[in-house]
């Protein structure tokens, strides 16, 4: 799959996007894996202090926001495009 990182997350991952191979079957499992890989500087933007997914981080699977569906349980597959935004906004 292809994972794209935005805003602060690029400071941690050092890449804007990467091809990534995982056995994770859901968005939540993938996020857990990425938080372990990139550590607390990454995790603080996408997880709440209790370890659950942030309500205001934007995580898209093929352009669809996981918060509009089953959230952490959103299934993922090898060919998917994943976008991960920390909480940012504008207007």
């Amino acid at each position: 799959m292809r994972i794209k990182y935005f805003a602060y997350l690029r400071d941690v991952t050092r890449v804007a996007e990467e091809h990534y191979i995982t056995t994770a079957a859901t968005a939540g499992a993938l996020l857990d894996e990425l938080c372990r890989r990139y550590g607390p500087p990454f995790a603080k933007w996408v997880l709440k202090p209790d370890g659950s997914l942030s309500e205001i981080a934007i995580i898209l699977v093929n352009g669809r926001d996981i918060r509009d569906g089953v959230w952490a349980e959103t299934p993922i597959a090898p060919g998917d495009d994943i976008c991960i935004f920390p909480p940012v906004a504008g207007g």
Partner: protein, 601 residues
């Protein structure tokens, strides 16, 4: 008098007389200030059927009761008049320090009537208010105008002025204050130009008092803490500015591309807030009492587009970027600088260029029309050149200086104008985000995002998330945001404070500042009242439900690529529900009982 200063300056430019009047406190309590109170006064004083560029139009510069206090993010004022672009009511909102300085000088509002026989500017220093000759300044761009007015008055003066675009009555001209802040939309700069009014310079050494110091102090600390604690208000906007939205909207397939021919721009990342922060950002910049600092002080070193100034924010980066098919960030920034200097609204300028490019690529206009300029999508050099030509109404820029609707209509194809009520839409494709389309269509000032920013919920998930693609609950969402924003604008607060606080906190701030108790329900009702008053003014001006529409392209032509591929706007399913929930009849006219409940009957 607390929060409000209780004084209004009225300037008759025809006769040169200046009077000072007490503020109508009954109206101030009901309509709060700034946008709401000036709209009420326009409603009472100006026939909606006048020519917007005639001396009969009036121009209000209005601060709110919170403007100039030490509450967080309350540095704003509104410019209100009849819009020459839309024919509807105009209220363009700007930050910086001009609004607070007007309050410190002792005034809530300045009203301009008539037309000066020769160019003038208004100089306000506390009790001293005088009209001065501006003949030597007429013709100057915004930075030089600002410097000259400060040199003639006081080096600390806060200056609001027009540039060459306003002087030439461009219907998309802005009023600029402190060089880089804009009351941008609806052609308010043209109204200023029509009155031969070049600028206002103000110095105030007074203060804004509050009615309940303890309550206000608590409310201000609470609001500040909540904004600072919020990831967006506390850090995100300062780090990346609003331009960080480019990648978000592109990723969800709702970044209007090439004049809304698509909703996805493959190289958008080159124009986003991340690229801006990495390559051009000198420092973040905030307005009076701002603890967010979304403003961008930037620099371009590329000799072709070199310069230093303010911007771009998201709408400008999108307009000169994806909407024109351009991914050259240096060119985008340069176009933004030129708009600031010439006094042009960035959204309408950029999208009018995009419209011209669309007309050109479809053979509706040719090199013969453009004076030999190839207006292809993606041509960054031409895009920058067109901004200059529009600001000075030179060559083909003259035809473009009145916005996309009049340009496209002149060639028999108004459907190429991506506008509502003849004002250009901003940077969210209504086919991919359903609620914002309903807002665009019903906004009292035409295509506009900041009077009902449903993107916060539909895309950002702040404070809650709703699916951007559904229409369920969207009429209710739009109404809530429209009412909240009408009230917020009227206090003098910044919309971005809502990335941290809401109606509860704003009502508490207003109560503490004024000493008058506003519940959250009172605050929201004031917003509803203001919205309905603006609607009534527009209906009398001749607008109707026939104007609550989106361009046909958005209703019939699906997005071609990206995450929202295949989507069209479902406006026509949402609009009747919106009217009913508003308490309006099937033609969008407020019912008598609705008006009575708001004290507008």
């Amino acid at each position: 008098m607390n929060a409000w200063t209780g004084k209004v300056i009225r300037v008759n430019l025809t006769s040169g007389t200046i009077t000072k009047e007490p503020l109508d406190m009954k109206a101030a309590r009901a309509f709060i200030g700034a946008r709401g109170l000036a709209a009420k006064m326009l409603f009472d004083e100006v026939d909606p059927n006048i020519d917007a560029l005639s001396p009969e139009n009036k121009l209000f510069f209005a601060a709110g009761p919170l403007t100039g206090t030490f509450a967080p993010n309350v540095g704003r004022y509104d410019v209100v008049c009849k819009s020459p672009l839309t024919g509807a009511i105009a209220a363009s909102n700007s930050g910086g320090s001009f609004g607070p300085e007007l309050k410190y000088a002792g005034y809530d509002m300045v009203i301009f009537e008539g037309k000066a026989p020769t160019p003038v500017y208004l100089w306000i220093k506390n009790d001293q208010v005088e009209l001065r000759d501006a003949s030597a300044i007429w013709g100057k761009e915004v930075p030089e105008t600002t410097d000259m007015l400060r040199a003639e008055t006081d080096e600390d003066a806060k200056v609001a002025c027009i540039g060459p675009a306003g002087e030439r009555l461009s219907l998309i001209a802005s009023v600029m204050n402190e060089m880089g802040r804009a009351a941008g939309r609806s052609g308010v700069g043209a109204v200023m130009g029509s009155k031969n009014l070049k600028g206002i310079a103000v110095v105030g050494t007074g203060a804004v008092t509050v009615g309940n110091k303890e309550a206000f102090d608590l409310a201000a600390k609470d609001a500040s803490a909540k904004i600072k604690a919020h990831p967006v208000g506390g850090a995100g906007l300062k780090a990346f500015g609003t331009d960080v939205l480019v990648n978000i909207l592109n990723s969800v397939g709702s970044l209007p591309t090439r004049n809304f021919n698509d909703g996805y721009f493959p190289t958008a990342d080159k124009t986003g807030g991340e690229a801006l922060a990495a390559n051009n950002l000198l420092r973040p910049r905030g307005c009076h009492s701002c603890i967010i600092e979304c403003g961008r002080a930037t620099k371009v070193t590329n000799p072709k587009f070199a310069g230093e100034g303010e911007g771009p924010e998201y709408e400008s980066a999108w307009g000169f970027g994806a909407d024109c098919g351009i991914d050259n960030l240096d060119a985008i920034i340069k176009a933004n600088y030129l708009c600031n200097d010439l006094g042009l609204d960035t959204i309408s300028t950029a999208t009018t260029i995009a419209c011209a490019m669309d007309l050109y690529e479809n053979g509706i206009i040719t090199l013969k029309d453009t004076g030999g300029i190839p207006l292809n999508f993606g041509n960054a050099e031409v895009m920058v050149e067109m901004v200059k030509l529009m600001g000075y109404r030179q060559g083909f820029g003259d035809k473009m200086a009145d916005g996309s609707y009049r340009l496209a209509d002149a060639y028999g194809h108004p459907e190429y104008s991506m506008s509502c009520k003849k004002q250009e839409m901003p940077a969210y494709d209504p086919r991919g985000v359903q609620g914002i389309g309903l807002h665009y269509a019903t906004s009292n000032r035409g295509g506009c995002h900041v009077r009902g920013y449903t993107i916060a919920v539909e895309v950002l998930g702040n404070p809650v998330k709703m699916d951007q693609h559904t229409i369920d609950g969207k009429p209710e969402l739009v109404i809530t945001f429209q009412n909240l924003t009408a009230a917020l604008d009227s206090t003098g607060a910044c919309l971005f404070a809502t990335f941290g606080i809401g109606g509860d906190e704003l009502a508490a701030l207003l109560s503490g500042a004024t000493g008058i108790q506003y519940t959250t329900a009172d605050f929201m009702e004031a917003g509803d009242r203001i919205w309905n008053l603006e609607r009534m003014w527009n209906l009398t001006a001749g607008l109707s439900s026939n104007d609550d529409v989106l361009p046909e392209r958005l209703l019939k032509e699906p997005i071609k690529s990206g995450a929202s591929k295949g989507e069209v706007s479902r406006l026509n399913e949402m609009l009747p529900v919106y009217y009913t929930l508003r308490g309006w009849d099937g033609n969008g006219v407020p019912l008598p009982e609705k008006l009575q409940s708001l004290g507008l009957a």
